[in-house]
Symmetry: C2
Subunit: 245 residues, 2 copies
């Protein structure tokens, strides 16, 4: 008698690492951890679920792709009340483009959790976006629509989606800030440093100072992104002054 065998067969250390890693990415506690296991299972691992169906992330990718499209649609609907159907469709396809999803997945370092029999270096770029979509599907199955929306707000919309930039009106906030400083004969300085913190991912932190005063701070997974993000914050903080100049 005693405990069922599989308690001793499980790998508490590895499972704990997976749980903590996922929790960090999600920003909340995962409940049905097996759904997330599936979201990171490549077909080459050749696993089956309890019903004998292939267990890999491809079906979750289908679900997550749809969820993501809906949540972005709702965001655009609210955010751009003057945009017609054609505009909304075009903006959505920019936000959920293959390149963008791959970038998102890469920034979250999702490939770190992928189980496969193929060496990770052999995967193309698309695995990052595919696993990102599967993760969205997993969140929906685990915690429902509202958590899914929260996650997408936090991980997609807030850090990456800028309507003005998507419309092509603003190519780079950094160049706007620099241009303004030069015109106003002000000194500016981007102060960048590595910042790993408690995250799995390496981050860059940047402070933007103008005439010696820190006007904005930002963190991102690349130096370029952190600078751009800080510039955007500075731009909005300084907008009044900039528009008048």
């Amino acid at each position: 008698m005693g405990f069922p065998n599989n308690i001793f067969n499980s790998h508490p250390k590895e499972d704990g690492d997976f749980f903590l890693g996922i929790k960090r990415i999600l920003g909340f506690k995962p409940k049905k951890i097996y759904v997330y296991k599936k979201a990171f299972m490549h077909r080459s691992a050749n696993k089956k679920d309890l019903e004998g169906n292939p267990m890999n992330y491809e079906r979750l990718e289908f679900l997550g792709d749809a969820m993501l499209g809906t949540i972005i649609s709702h965001f655009l609907y609210k955010e751009v009340p003057e945009g017609d159907e054609g505009y909304l469709t075009k903006m959505r396809s920019k936000i959920v483009s293959r390149e963008h999803l791959n970038e998102l997945g890469k920034d979250l370092n999702l490939i770190h959790y992928v189980e496969s029999r193929i060496p990770k270096s052999h995967f193309g770029d698309n695995i990052h976006g595919n696993v990102f979509e599967a993760l969205v599907g997993a969140i929906y199955l685990d915690r429902g629509y509202d958590y899914c929306e929260k996650f997408i707000n936090k991980r997609v919309i807030e850090p990456y989606v800028d309507i003005e930039q998507l419309e092509g009106k603003v190519i780079s906030y950094k160049s706007l800030v620099i241009e303004w400083c030069q015109k106003q004969k002000k000194n500016f300085n981007y102060d960048v440093y590595d910042d790993t913190g408690n995250d799995v991912l390496k981050h860059f932190a940047v402070k933007l100072s103008i005439d010696g005063n820190v006007v904005a701070k930002a963190r991102a997974t690349s130096k370029k992104k952190a600078e751009e993000r800080a510039s955007k914050r500075a731009y909005f903080a300084l907008q009044n002054k900039m528009d008048k100049s």
Copy 2:
């Protein structure tokens, strides 16, 4: 003094009819009635909202189309655990096909509520599907995801979605039932009658009897659909007997 003017300018009778009609279609009380007004506003009506943006159903259609796709995706994900991504994508596109959405909108007689300056007889078939999508978008904005899912279950999935039929495995349950009766030398009878009830829509009710016993009943917006639906119910009720024969 007294009541503000717009109380006397509103049309309580018409608004009440609209409210009741929408409530009947939804199966629950609408809260933000103006969102539904928008869902039925054709661009030819040339209305503007309070912000001066065009007020018609086209943006809601964009939103509803996405919601519908997601809810159908989730349904298929649960319903067909053995279906791969390609299968799920194919089945979803059958369910949300233009023809199917037009049929849904027509069955609900949504065009009855459309406001436009174009005579309704001049619209093509697509208006039915477009307004149906807009209605889904309105439900989402009014009551959120769960109500939207409930509505789609009730108005799309339960009455119309049959996986076996979509897969092309079963063309018609009626022909399966007739074939079985003939083989078993049983008499069958489809007894059809008009049934308007309290609904805005005309319905047909059908009783299917085999050897004088009623084996299934169904209601639908056409005779053919009611017969098919009753046959499907009979098929599942008799499946054991049918499979053995």
